[in-house]
Symmetry: C2
Subunit: 148 residues, 2 copies
Amino acid sequence: MNNTESGAAFTELLLEVFRLNGVLLTEGDRLTADLGLTSSRWQVMGAISEHPLSVPYIAREMGLTRQGVQKMVNILMKEGLVEFEDNPHHKSSKLVSLSAEGRKRLSRIDDIQRAWANQIARDHDVDDLKRTFRFIRQLRDTLERKQS
Amino acid sequence: MNNTESGAAFTELLLEVFRLNGVLLTEGDRLTADLGLTSSRWQVMGAISEHPLSVPYIAREMGLTRQGVQKMVNILMKEGLVEFEDNPHHKSSKLVSLSAEGRKRLSRIDDIQRAWANQIARDHDVDDLKRTFRFIRQLRDTLERKQS
DNA sequence: ACCATTTTGACAACTTGTTGTCAATCAACC
DNA sequence: GGTTGATTGACAACAAGTTGTCAAAATGGT
């Protein structure tokens, strides 16, 4: 079976997404190395910065397994960056929220991340950024619908 | 510091890239689960399907560390899917090539992967796919240039 | 109110990456 | 030809995710 033109283009894109993912993780870690927070940790913290959320909810939000997020949350708990709140809708599934220290730490990271994002984004057209975001999300939708 | 419009768009894109990356890996593994080869294994095998390459070269190609690729290659070696060839340019750094069995296995995977890519790509505009590829690569270029 | 199904947390084993370090090899230059 | 610096393979420790399993808790239909 031969590749269609679209199929070949999709495969090229897919490999490039893997590479970009790697570079983004590396950069994210580098940005906040001195603050003692890796990319995945502040991503979890970012998810609960507005409202406290349960672990499975965060996982669905980020496209990860609940076990993986649970592990991360347990570590953040040990480090005193998040707290558990009672969940009115579920006795044993607590809501995770930022502690005062967690909030302070996240806000410093947010400053750094925002400055960095602004700087990178300056070199690119805002419409390209938005269009690419929409297309990537659409691609993910297609993939997720096919697998179900 | 507030986000610029571009900065916010970039951050949104970045989070979506993480999610797409996850879905792609999951799908890749699901596709070839019965063939006993995970995504990362056939990615490495794909890299050497044209010409034998050294481990560090594969790593640079894929945007990974040489140690990570080395680990993968050692596993593929144990399973008899790749072989080491003498490298005329380096006494101890062998070239990695596909074994007969590896080539056979990869060609089956390629068929499956191609059919899948064609099917997914069918739902999307080929120009969008190409444009997105170019933009993502450009983004990665920017990121890699900033960090050096 | 009961029962079947789903959701959840906890734990273990595993995969795929990372960094750091060491010694061996290679390349370049004086 | 010797020294110096970069590249390489091997190994260890670690990070971040996965799957699978179990029991407890929640949910929904009859």
